[in-house]
Chain length 131, copies 2
Amino acid sequence: MRIEVQPIGFVHTDVDPVPRHWSVSDAEGTLMIDTKYQDGLKGIVAGKRIVVLFHFHKSPGFTPDLLIQTPYHGKWQKGVFGMCSPKRPNPIGLSVVEVLEIAGNKIRVKGIDMLDGTPILDIKPDVDQNG
Amino acid sequence: MRIEVQPIGFVHTDVDPVPRHWSVSDAEGTLMIDTKYQDGLKGIVAGKRIVVLFHFHKSPGFTPDLLIQTPYHGKWQKGVFGMCSPKRPNPIGLSVVEVLEIAGNKIRVKGIDMLDGTPILDIKPDVDQNG
């Protein structure tokens, strides 16, 4: 059973290196959404947090030795599903970012931890914030 | 550009109908993870919240008329990226559920809003809770 997805847009950022995780990132970037999906952004406004799902497009293929990994702090090992590593069975990332500005199909955000050129798969409201 | 993903397991639940959203759900169910990924669950323990990404496997194909939708409360319209509708360009769902018990490859959880048989794509820690 295989499921196909495709980008709705791409991340653009000049930040290099990118912070290791959105929860510790003040880095800014722009989510460039395909204009054919622009109407779907209605209701996204500055000041809100949004959840961005994206493709870890630079990750290597997953192999069984990656089921247990050592996080950045190197203190102990964790299962891949208990951590945010980009090396996952399905290389889908999740970041929660703050909307700084939205204009047309471009969303300027703060909290970037994705590489420039990262394919965006979905945007959702941050329900923990928005209720 | 197409990206392929495949299930790491499936949701099992007797709840019918399922609540409309995890944030208002006390429904219980079990995440049955493929045993080949079982080691990746190390570190997931009862009492923690986890983020589950899944495939909206019953959703129809996406068409442009679905870019703007009316949420369940019917009060106003929103863009698809500002809401949690299962009808999305990439039919990936996100639920935050509480771990009640974990035994081998089976995770008993509370907060189910997925249909029985839903393909699971990923499990991640709930960083908002776990820091």
